[in-house]
Symmetry: C2
Subunit: 215 residues, 2 copies
DNA sequence: ATGCAAATAGGTATATGTACCCATATTTTT
DNA sequence: AAAAATATGGGTACATATACCTATTTGCAT
């Protein structure tokens, strides 16, 4: 049976050792070890035909696994990527999906699950840990909620809301946008109604909650 | 040479494997493996004289490493604890110190550093990763900064700020606190001055930033 | 004991925001 | 083509917040 070549990317030595020992006496052949995305990206560019699957951690210095995955997927379509993460955070799941990884499993996965994921990926499939699925739903729901919440506002309203949250008064906003203060105030009123807020304070919290500004 | 008995606590199978392989052919003898603090605490209570050093991860389900360490230190003075963490977060460092662990190293530590830490701990000493030191300073500085920022406000001011951020008007706050609206407004003015904010909006962002309310 | 910060409260003036009413031009959707 | 949403602007009244000023009481610290 032909060996599948694997590049291992993780900044934690113990994790590299652990995975290496898991893959001993398997059809998988570790052809490289890198401690971060940048190192890995350089390695891949020099050895693009020597690697079939890249197994990478998400959080790493210099270049994280998400960025690495995006770069790989943009350039080398034949290389498959399995993402590893310590925690099943909703944000992580989302990023992994956006990076178009072929699989995503948690670091506490068993050897069986680990090998299973590699098998699926090697055959052009995908594998996502069972533990991640509920988070995926949560994430999607949260995203939709967020989009829905933000969706009630028009572009102009969001623009004005941002300036409100940056502590500009209606007069100042009017000047900056070359419109009447009255128009700005009308937008305020409409936003208050749309967001069911009592006052500007609620609008500002809405803005922070939805990432229009930071606190 | 007498073997040193070690209990390994980590919810990540790969991590357990990695450490186990590191300690092969050493003076250290792994006498138990646990997946979380609760399991470990039960194990220790049943085998208190069979273990010299507990190596534990920080973040684990049911009972984390910090809690486990505190319990151990409160009951079994002869057992030494080495904490492991994935990340050198400032918060983690602080907690480890409060839990009175004998050592704290990151999971990306080399085998040499790992063994070194065990040697020191086994001889009644302590070991903290070099990488953790700068974070300790950062932590202290960050904490002080936060405390300073919040520290400029009196208890009463924080109380009123919270209510402001919860969208209550001065009149409403006055009623709830059985004081004059004028007093509330004075507190507002004082807070604006102390926090260098332009308006209530700035105060609300200050409140969110400092955890007085959530967005 | 004297001073200082904190919490309390008042006055007055002004600035800013909000709630209603209204209208019109443009764009988007149906 | 008709309807709806969006962006624009006006008027009036009221609500709320902010900037100054002042003062008293309390408690804590030098």
């Amino acid at each position: 049976m032909e060996k599948i070549n694997i590049l291992l990317v993780d900044d934690h030595r113990i994790m590299l050792d652990g995975i290496e020992s898991m893959l001993q006496n398997s059809q998988y052949n570790i052809v490289g070890l890198c401690a971060n995305g940048e190192e890995a990206w350089t390695w891949i560019n020099a050895n693009e035909d020597k690697v079939n699957i890249v197994i990478t951690d998400i959080s790493m210095p210099l270049m994280n696994g998400i960025e690495l995955c995006k770069k790989i997927k943009a350039t080398y379509h034949h290389i498959n990527v399995l993402m590893l993460s310590m925690y099943n955070s909703a944000a992580a799941v989302d990023e992994v999906l956006q990076a178009e990884a072929d699989g995503f499993i948690l670091k506490n996965a068993s050897k069986v699950e680990f090998i299973n994921a590699l098998h699926k990926i090697q055959n052009g499939g995908t594998y996502f840990s069972q533990e991640i699925i509920p988070f995926l739903y949560k994430q999607i729901i949260a995203e939709r909620k967020k989009e829905m919440e933000l969706g009630v506002l028009t572009q102009r309203e969001k623009e004005i809301l941002e300036m409100i949250a940056l502590e500009f008064t209606s007069d100042e906003i009017a000047s900056k946008l070359f419109i009447s203060k009255k128009t700005v105030d009308n937008h305020r009123t409409n936003m208050l109604q749309k967001t069911h807020c009592k006052s500007t304070i609620g609008l500002v919290k809405f803005a922070i909650r939805n990432g229009i500004v930071s606190s």
